[in-house]
């Protein structure tokens, strides 16, 4: 304990001292243009300084993505204060503010691309692994906006909003090709081109192919018996990814397109499938397509946006339950899902007298398809179920910011959502005191909802009762203190109280096909405290340390939620390497022990286990060779920590071990266009 105290003191003494040197006016314009002034878009659907925004916000920039070697959105979110990501060797799941229920498919986090919703309309899932469909090399910036934001965005904006802002041609300014190779049979190829033309038009295209064999032999103690290969799953951890991204902007019009597929073998024999089945792998394929057109126009003080988008998500999975020794599929499940939607929205931002800024909008969503089909391969009988639904949603929202005095900002928002089964009204309020432009105290009240998703509404699996499901909701109170010291050190501290009610919770029901159904009955109270310090130093060195302590308790059982670490500690630093434009970046993350999902053990007791706390470190080196070549190298889990993540009760194992040390190296050739 003493040692910790000493470290904190050293930190407290050192940081302000480091910040006492050169001033901004001594920097060149070139340097000034590289500085990030913390502008956030997604907190209010308009650009504003994050210190004034009605939320506690973190950013990750393209530079950081490159320097820390982040390969997925999951890697990026892992680096953010208080957030954690768990992986079951199929999907990655976000944990935020103590909520990280294994297997909930991230339906309580809203994921946006350039402000457009990309949670699918089937599972409400925010896909953050390679299944997201976009390569992080095409990200300009990621905004992580903590707290509920349904008053602006409606469904899913429950714990946080993650807004991915994609790269423009100007940012790439040329043509680049990258080849990477790594341990676990990993290979990647990426080609990108983009530029801004003299007439102001801008385009960028990028495509990525990636393959990984995964861990050759994975040992799962839960399957350790002679019939199941002594618990060893062989060559069943592979993943293949294809991604395409395109963006073009001209005058007020921006068109973004993407298409991404990910195929993955699932080695865990989840969903009661056969362990180590070598002919019919348990396998999942996710595909995302998006065309999004946004038109922005200003008339004097008024800014108008019009948006039209088409999203398509498909999912297919193979689940071996019985296979003859010669490979004939006796019972191999085959599930597919198709979600497609058109959406149209319009918004207006209007300054009003009394230093007010009003944002109002309307949104229409036509869920063309929310289809799920389940059957068996090679079986002539009709599918078990073939649910084809479609629906429409409408919403209206209004948000006003009032700068009452120089030091006081009031912010209020209200959104009305109309679904076919129910209506929702969601408010938000913020009271922001700014003693100076470098310091703010915020009180934030938030409310959010999550509508039941297609999985929960699958009446073949869960019976007709699911049609009575209503949205779950959350009320939150948060106080935030943000401060810039001498323009070099930024600190943010936040304390919060969350109350989530009517959570959609599985319960036993013998009358249904799966013996279970969903009801609105879960209730969780969470509270926590988070703090971070960010230093941007000379020679482009940057450092960030953060700490979060949290507690989320299920009110029915009085127990802590599964997969909810008490402590989350992170640190990262990026320093210049030996030559110009080279960098060495190091990060370390610690999660304390987490409970697993309770299940019946061998003695018939319903009990939860625990996975122990673990610290992971990663290091990345970026080394340019001349002006056209660049080498990168990343080692993840540098010290080979052995640790496991809790997984959902669709698994026999209560936790799944994560990768040990892995490494990858890459070379990029880049040709920059002359001005």
């Amino acid at each position: 304990m003493n040692r910790k105290l000493v470290l904190v003191l050293v930190c407290a003494v050192m940081l302000p001292r480091a910040a006492a040197a050169q001033s901004l006016t001594d920097l060149s314009l070139e340097d000034l243009m590289q500085i990030d002034a913390g502008q956030v878009f997604g907190a209010s659907e308009r650009l504003q300084p994050s210190i004034e925004a009605p939320a506690s916000v973190s950013f990750i920039t393209a530079q950081e993505i490159q320097r820390y070697g982040y390969r997925t959105l999951a890697d990026i979110l892992r680096s953010v204060r208080g957030m954690y990501v768990t992986n079951d060797r199929n999907f990655s799941y976000i944990g935020a503010r103590g909520f990280g229920k294994p297997g909930d498919y991230n339906s309580r986090i809203l994921l946006l691309i350039n402000g457009h919703r990309v949670n699918d309309n089937l599972f409400g899932q925010a896909e953050i692994g390679a299944e997201f469909g976009l390569d992080p090399a095409t990200f300009e910036r990621v905004e992580v906006i903590r707290g509920p934001a349904s008053s602006l965005y409606g469904d899913s904006a429950f714990f946080a909003v993650v807004n991915v802002i994609t790269r423009s041609g100007e940012s790439l300014n040329g043509t680049a090709a990258t080849v990477e190779a790594g341990t676990l049979g990993t290979g990647l190829f990426r080609a990108s081109t983009g530029r801004r033309l003299s007439n102001g038009a801008d385009y960028m295209f990028s495509t990525t192919f990636e393959h990984s064999d995964g861990v050759k032999k994975l040992y799962f103690p839960a399957f350790d018996s002679p019939e199941t290969n002594h618990g060893i799953a062989e060559r069943l951890d592979g993943e293949g990814v294809k991604q395409f991204y395109g963006r073009a902007t001209f005058k007020g019009l921006a068109v973004t397109t993407m298409y991404g597929t990910r195929e993955r073998d699932i080695p865990t024999a989840s969903l009661q499938t056969m362990f180590n089945e070598q002919v019919w792998h348990e396998q999942a394929t996710d595909r995302h397509g998006l065309v999004d057109a946004l038109y922005t126009r200003s008339f004097r003080d008024t800014r108008l946006t019009l948006r039209g988008s088409y999203d398509r998500f498909t999912f297919s999975g193979t689940y071996p339950m019985a296979v003859e020794p010669d490979g004939t599929p006796t019972l191999v499940g085959d599930a597919t899902g198709t979600g497609a939607r058109w959406s149209a929205s319009s918004g207006v931002t209007q300054p009003l007298p009394g230093r007010q800024t009003l944002r109002a909008g309307v949104e229409f969503i036509d869920n063309l398809a929310q289809n799920q089909r389940g059957g068996f391969i090679g079986n002539p009988i009709p599918p078990l179920f073939d649910i084809k639904t479609s629906s429409t949603q409408q919403a209206l929202y209004l948000q006003d910011e009032m700068k009452v005095t120089r030091w006081l900002i009031l912010n209020g928002g209200l959104r009305f959502d109309r679904y076919e089964q129910f209506d929702r009204v969601t408010p938000r309020a913020a009271f922001i005191v700014m003693p100076s432009s470098a310091q703010s105290f915020k009180y934030l009240f938030g409310n959010a909802f999550r509508a039941p998703n297609g999985w929960e509404l699958n009446d073949f699996y869960f019976g007709d009762r699911v049609h009575q499901l209503r949205p779950e909701s959350i009320d939150t109170h948060e106080v935030v203190w943000e401060r810039y010291f001498n323009d070099r050190l930024r600190t943010a501290t936040s304390a919060y109280w969350y109350r989530a009610d009517r959570l959609i919770t599985p319960t036993l029901d013998d009358s249904t096909f799966l013996g279970a159904t969903f009801v609105n009955q879960g209730e969780v109270r969470a509270k926590g405290f988070e703090t971070e310090a960010q230093l941007r130093l000379g020679g482009e060195s940057r450092a960030l340390v953060s700490y979060a302590i949290q507690s989320a308790v299920d009110q029915q059982t009085g127990e802590e939620l599964p997969n909810s670490p008490r402590h989350v500690v992170k640190g990262r630093i990026s320093v210049p390497g030996p030559t110009a434009r080279s960098f060495v970046s190091f990060e370390a993350q610690y999660l304390s022990a987490r409970g697993t999902v309770p299940r019946f053990d061998a003695d018939g007791n319903f009990a939860a286990g625990r996975v122990k706390g673990a610290a992971i470190a990663n290091v990345t080196v970026v080394q340019p060779l001349g002006h056209t070549w660049e080498l990168t190298g990343t080692v993840r889990n540098l010290f080979g920590t052995i640790y496991a993540d809790p997984v959902s009760d669709q698994h026999v194992q209560e936790s799944v071990e994560q990768n040990g040390r892995t490494a990858r190296i890459g070379v990029t050739w880049k040709f920059s266009q002359a001005e």
């Binding site: 050169q22 002034a37 102001g200 003080d301 230093l535 470190a617």
Partner: protein
């Protein structure tokens, strides 16, 4: 038991290295502080006509943005331009602004901007703002944000008409109109 905070000493050690291993300027700043640094640079790279009365100080005026005014005051302490100390003055919309060398304005409606700018037409005052459509209203230098970074456009014609000479060092950094 495993020591959970084993990573912290490592992080601190690398932090210490970074602090003392490199020149210390920082990059995470507030918007007013960043704008102040840009405004100072704009002034550095602009030449005023020789017949502008010299006065005792080089005056930067700020209209309707006390945060930027405060940041500017801090930024220009001990600095001078045209061999005169820099003074930062907060001005009201109706006040005369012809003694300003630089005028930064914020939070005005389009009609107010038009009035202020029309009054300074062909007067050697470098006008700067982040208000949308500032250049088309007759302003010279327009701030805007892109990917969290500050960018600017310069209307060279308007500046020339006012007798201001803008250095090519500034112009190459400006976004085309």
């Amino acid at each position: 038991m495993r020591r959970p905070l084993g990573i912290v000493p490592l992080a601190i050690a690398s932090l210490t290295l970074a602090l003392f291993g490199s020149a210390a300027f920082a990059q995470d700043v507030t918007e007013p502080a960043l704008k102040a640094a840009f405004i100072y640079n704009f002034a550095r790279f602009t030449t005023w006509p020789a017949d502008v009365p010299a006065g005792d100080s080089f005056t930067i005026c700020v209209l309707n943005d006390s945060a930027v005014a405060d940041a500017l005051r801090k930024a220009v302490i001990g600095k001078s331009l045209t061999e005169r100390p820099i003074a930062v003055t907060v001005v009201a919309a109706a006040a005369p602004k012809r003694t300003c060398r630089v005028l930064y304005m914020a939070g005005l409606q389009a009609s107010q901007v038009a009035t202020v700018v029309a009054d300074l037409r062909e007067v050697p005052v470098l006008t700067i703002s982040s208000i949308d459509g500032f250049a088309s209203a007759g302003g010279m230098t327009q701030f805007f944000f892109e990917h969290g970074q500050l960018r600017f456009r310069i209307d060279l014609e308007t500046a020339k008409r006012a007798g201001l000479q803008i250095s090519s060092r500034l112009l190459i950094m400006a976004r085309p109109q």
